[in-house]
């Protein structure tokens, strides 16, 4: 639980009274443009940074730098690939597992399990410099898993990798959640967060400006519903009939296709389809719903991927 946390770097207010909660066993997506305060929040959660005021509580204990008991229950997947290039994958896991107090047969068993989990067992004795980008990213994640953390912080774990490796990582994250691991996940790829996060916190300029499930956030910004129809032979009379339906704000016709904009919550898809039957038959229907990207854009005025003003 992050409770009214404030963190300053000289005159820069990196975290400005930030509050959010992470429920046990959920994946919380943390989104924000560059400079929003995500990294500061992650560093404070990982116990790498003291906060100026407020508190962070994990598993009922206060998280402060030097809280060794909590560190044992945490895993950190860094945004940069932070593995030893001069050690093999197996040795990397042995090192990080050793830091968490694992040794002997138990350490070897955990290493084998983790290598299997990230599909690197066949390359366990190779050094990372021989790995592809996706394999390095998987090793980067594996180094945070050997000690089986209860709370895993993942900072942009899929940056710069191919779609296949990304899918593999996302599946692994979901699998970790299914095993009961609580996960804080940040990404510039909105569709990743939308696909895996139970809830989302959106940060901007040091504030947590919105939080909730993806559906809740979408509902917050959804002022209208948009339906696109492809018809056999739409007439002006048909357009007028649809325009007269309750809740319909606008109907645009372009050749054989109609775009119908209704008020949010009007739930008139059925009525539109019924009315459209007289237009030579409905060939296709597409109902657009705002995405998390739209939510982000509306709330922050910025596009997440480039971090710039939209």
């Amino acid at each position: 639980m992050v409770n009214d946390v404030v963190k300053r770097y000289d005159s820069l207010l990196a975290l400005d009274h930030v509050d959010f909660e992470i429920a046990q066993g959920e994946i919380l997506g943390l989104l924000g443009p560059n400079g929003a305060g995500k990294t500061t929040a992650i560093r404070a959660l990982a116990g790498l940074l003291p906060v100026d005021s407020g508190s962070i509580e994990l598993f009922g204990e206060a998280q402060v730098p030097g809280a060794m008991g909590l560190r044992r229950r945490l895993g950190l997947v860094t945004q940069e690939i932070t593995v030893f290039e001069d050690l093999s994958a197996r040795e990397n896991l042995e090192f990080f597992g050793g830091l968490y107090g694992l040794k002997g047969a138990e350490l070897r068993r955990r290493i084998a399990e983790t290598l299997d989990f990230v599909c690197l067992a066949e390359h366990a004795d190779a050094r990372p410099k021989k790995y592809s980008g996706g394999m390095k990213r998987r090793l980067n994640i594996a180094c945070a898993l050997t000690h089986r953390p209860e709370f895993l912080i993942m900072d942009e774990p899929t940056v710069g990798i191919d779609p296949q490796s990304r899918n593999h990582i996302l599946e692994s994250v979901k699998s970790l959640r299914d095993r009961g691991t609580t996960i804080l996940y940040t990404s510039h790829y909105m569709e990743e967060v939308q696909a895996i996060a139970t809830r989302v916190v959106i940060m901007d300029q040091g504030h947590a400006i919105a939080q909730g499930t993806v559906d809740e956030l979408v509902e917050r910004i959804q002022y209208e519903e948009r339906v696109r129809l492809e018809l056999g032979s739409p007439t002006e009379e048909l357009v007028a009939r649809i325009r007269a339906l309750p809740g319909v704000k606008q109907v645009e016709r372009e050749g054989a296709s109609l775009t119908v904009v209704s008020e949010a919550g009007s739930a008139n898809l059925d009525r539109i389809l019924q009315a459209a039957q007289g237009g030579g038959g409905v060939r296709s229907v597409q109902a657009d719903k705002p995405s998390l990207e739209d939510v982000f854009l509306t709330l922050t005025g910025k596009s997440l991927r480039d971090g710039g003003e939209s």
Partner: protein
């Protein structure tokens, strides 16, 4: 012991380290005694190899900091004190073992011309600690990797030159010799010359004490590095 063990493994993974730890120093043992030099040339130059060998090994700590590895290690249940000390002790063990081999080879090659080999080993061991602590302090003070490498390698070279590793101390002017006394290199050469000339034991102990004081001072600075 995880940090200690992997610091040892990593010390021998870099080819340049291997050359400076195993190759050049052992070759130096075979360099002959020369006129005008109190100590066989190879042993005097060995001081410079220790200085740069320590720098090369501790370069991995600076590299780890630059690559973000300290952030990951900082999130693990280990204190930065433990990380730095285990790494330091591992590298110290490597250099001390190297000192033993070097002195052993020296006895084989130079025979009785190399006086008091046991005390020579002690002097080298003290200087090994000093060399490591200088590089540790440099890495802690200079957080930018490139700046750290350039500044440290320049500083070490200057220290090695005025400290008397590349020529006999006698050829230095009195002013330069006084300046050289501010470097730990001078005190290693002084200790070696004292042993070689059969000088007073007090002078040898003084040299050792100065080298160890340098080591402690630099260690205090070096151990203040924050992991993340």
């Amino acid at each position: 012991m995880t940090i200690f063990r992997f610091a040892l493994i990593r010390a021998f993974r870099r080819p340049l380290n291997l050359l400076l730890i195993c190759g050049l120093p052992l070759a130096a043992a075979f360099l002959p005694a020369a006129p005008g030099w109190v100590v066989p040339i190879g042993f005097q130059m060995y001081g410079a190899l220790l200085l740069f060998g320590a720098f090369l090994m501790l370069r991995s700590v600076v590299d780890d900091g630059a690559s973000g590895l300290f952030q990951r290690i900082g999130a693990a249940p280990v204190t930065q004190f433990r990380y730095i000390w285990e790494t330091f002790l591992a590298y110290a063990l490597v250099l001390v073992a190297q000192n033993a081999i070097m002195v052993g080879l020296g006895v084989l090659v130079h025979g009785e011309r190399l006086r008091s080999p046991l005390l020579l080993f002690v002097a080298f061991a003290a200087f090994s600690l000093t060399s490591l602590s200088i590089s540790l302090a440099g890495g802690a003070l200079l957080r930018n990797r490139d700046t750290a490498y350039q500044a440290l390698s320049t500083l070490l070279m200057v220290m090695a030159m005025i400290g008397g590793f590349f020529w006999p101390l006698e050829i230095l002017s009195p002013a330069l010799r006084r300046a050289a006394m501010a470097t730990p290199c001078y005190w290693l050469v002084h200790a070696m010359e004292t042993l070689q000339r059969g000088g007073p034991g007090g002078q040898f102990v003084l040299s050792l004490a100065v080298m160890l004081l340098f080591a402690i001072a630099f260690l205090l600075v070096g151990s203040r590095r924050r992991l993340a």
